[in-house]
């Protein structure tokens, strides 16, 4: 577990997802290094549909590895604006680059300030120990 990292410019949820704040209240979402390591080789990803309206805790997708499956939850309220279609053909991007090419979906937040309710990197790291 020594090589897992948690970038300081991201926000985190207790469901082991990260949230990157972009422009105009749009955020990008993926799963953390801890989560992909716990899952093992990711072999299938299902994502929400663009246009879906979601609220925190809604199950809006699945990440499946060779050994288990986990739900993907909406971290905040908003509308899904994009999904990472590269994961269809290359789900292993979640393992190899969880904060970059392994991103999962983007959403426009109903309330841009809601991000502040999520954990920062130090709080998330502390929650893992």
């Amino acid at each position: 577990m020594t090589d897992l990292d948690y970038p300081s410019d991201l926000r985190y949820t207790s469901d082991h997802e990260w949230v990157r704040v972009g422009d105009d209240g749009v955020v990008r979402i993926g799963i953390t290094s801890f989560a992909q390591d716990a899952l093992g080789d990711v072999v299938y990803v299902s994502l929400p549909a663009v246009g879906d309206t979601v609220t925190p805790g809604d199950s809006c997708g699945e990440v499946e590895s060779t050994k288990s499956v986990s739900d993907v939850y909406a971290p905040l309220e908003g509308e899904v604006t994009a999904t990472n279609e590269a994961l269809d053909a290359s789900p292993e991007l979640i393992n190899s680059d969880p904060y970059g090419e392994g991103w999962m979906f983007e959403m426009r937040l109903a309330d841009a300030s809601a991000v502040d309710s999520l954990m920062d990197a130090s709080a998330y790291t502390a929650s893992l120990s």
Binding site: H16, A35, Y44, S68
Partner: protein, 372 residues
């Protein structure tokens, strides 16, 4: 997302436990044993691929070991377990089943025929005590059944480069599929059996418990030139599922007979007696469900207990399902109504989503496990 945490901690550990911990393996409970699921720097897919293309080593010391010794030991075993041990010669091993009187499977196991008076058994970890108990209860005067679970380790060396790995340790290779040699490694006895659970050419080594760590260390070094990998039980499961090999507790159980699992090839039907014979003969005439392979045609992975339907009608359920690293597709073993035939299209209910699959006859991949 959520991550699962394991339940009760396993109490039992392999003689190689500290090796796995030092390698940073992810450990999990397996039949009451704390065993490696996967190692860092690879993961299930890389370990699986190493075995299919090169070589991998597995600690399977959780497997049971037991002996049946005494005059007529082989005949005694033959009157209990399903397969016909008279089909093999001393020096060979055989896949067989321990059934109860109703034909349910207490365990599937490997019998090593050392001589007419000396038989060695490798049952599954969780079932060893029960197999030994049943044999002990049935054993006549003069035949001793002993649980040797903690007397031996078991290390599987699997993959096309297995012979070269064993040769570099000075161990015997090239004997026939399912035969074994009682060898010596640096002054220590080790049984080298041409068996495995992956479908690849390979061997299972049975050293004494205390000799297992040194043998493992030597193997870790010996696989390096071939880019081999220590492999966890995660890869062992994807490898065996690609072959359609059953796992007791999922594809065989007290509720899933060898007739249903289509393991009738491991039943000596012509023998006078074996446990469960009458029930299995009766079931053979009219099985209610049969094991089939399912090759998923869409995107998704079937898992155990997913419901299977055909034309909207329920026809059975998945017993084992996984992602095939070789085919890059979901595959499954399923118990289906006997009128479902190879080539049929069925639908698997994966957490509410319909996943289309074709009924096929395993193995899902072509291998050369038996070739000389």
């Amino acid at each position: 997302m959520t991550t699962q945490t394991s339940g009760a901690r396993a109490q039992l550990t392999s003689p190689l436990h500290d090796r796995h911990v030092a390698l940073g393996a992810k450990m999990a409970d397996f039949g009451g044993w704390d065993m490696p699921i996967e190692y860092p720097g690879g993961g299930v897919v890389a370990e699986h691929t190493a075995v299919r293309e090169r070589v991998g080593i597995f600690d399977v010391s959780h497997l049971g070991k037991a002996s049946v010794v005494g005059p007529g030991a082989a005949d005694f075993v033959n009157a209990c377990l399903t397969n016909d041990v008279r089909r093999i010669e001393p020096g060979s091993a055989q896949y067989t089943l321990c059934c109860d009187d109703s034909g349910g499977v207490v365990d599937d196991l490997i019998v090593y025929l050392k001589s007419d008076d000396d038989v060695f058994l490798i049952p599954n970890a969780a079932n060893t005590a029960e197999v030994v108990r049943r044999l002990q209860a049935a054993a006549p005067e003069g035949i001793t059944v002993t649980n040797l679970h903690h007397d031996f380790g078991v290390i599987a060396v699997q993959g096309t480069r297995s012979d070269e790995v064993l040769e570099s340790l000075g161990l015997p290779t090239g004997h026939d599929y399912m035969s074994f040699v009682e060898a010596d490694w640096q002054g220590h006895p080790v049984i080298v059996c041409r068996t495995g659970y992956t479908g690849e050419r390979g061997y299972e080594l049975v050293p004494r418990w205390d000799d297992a760590p040194a043998l493992w260390d030597a193997l870790v070094g010996a696989i390096e030139p071939f880019e081999g990998k220590p492999c966890g039980l995660g890869a062992r499961d994807t490898l065996r599922t690609e072959m359609g090999y059953p796992l007791h507790g999922q594809d065989l159980s007290l509720d899933i007979s060898p007739v249903q699992a289509r393991a009738g090839w491991a039943v000596g039907w012509k023998k006078d007696t074996f446990w469960g014979k009458a029930a299995l003969e009766a079931e053979k005439a009219d099985p209610k469900r049969l094991m089939r392979g399912l090759l998923v045609t869409g995107r998704g992975i079937p898992r155990a207990h997913c419901a299977v339907s055909r034309d909207g009608e329920s026809v059975g359920e998945v017993t084992s399902g996984t992602f095939s690293p070789t085919l890059k597709q979901g595959i499954a073993l399923a118990l289906l109504r006997p009128d479902v035939a190879d080539g049929d299209t069925v639908s698997i209910d994966v957490r509410g989503r319909a996943l289309e699959a074709t009924v096929v006859k395993p193995p899902f991949v072509q291998v050369q496990v038996r070739e000389g």
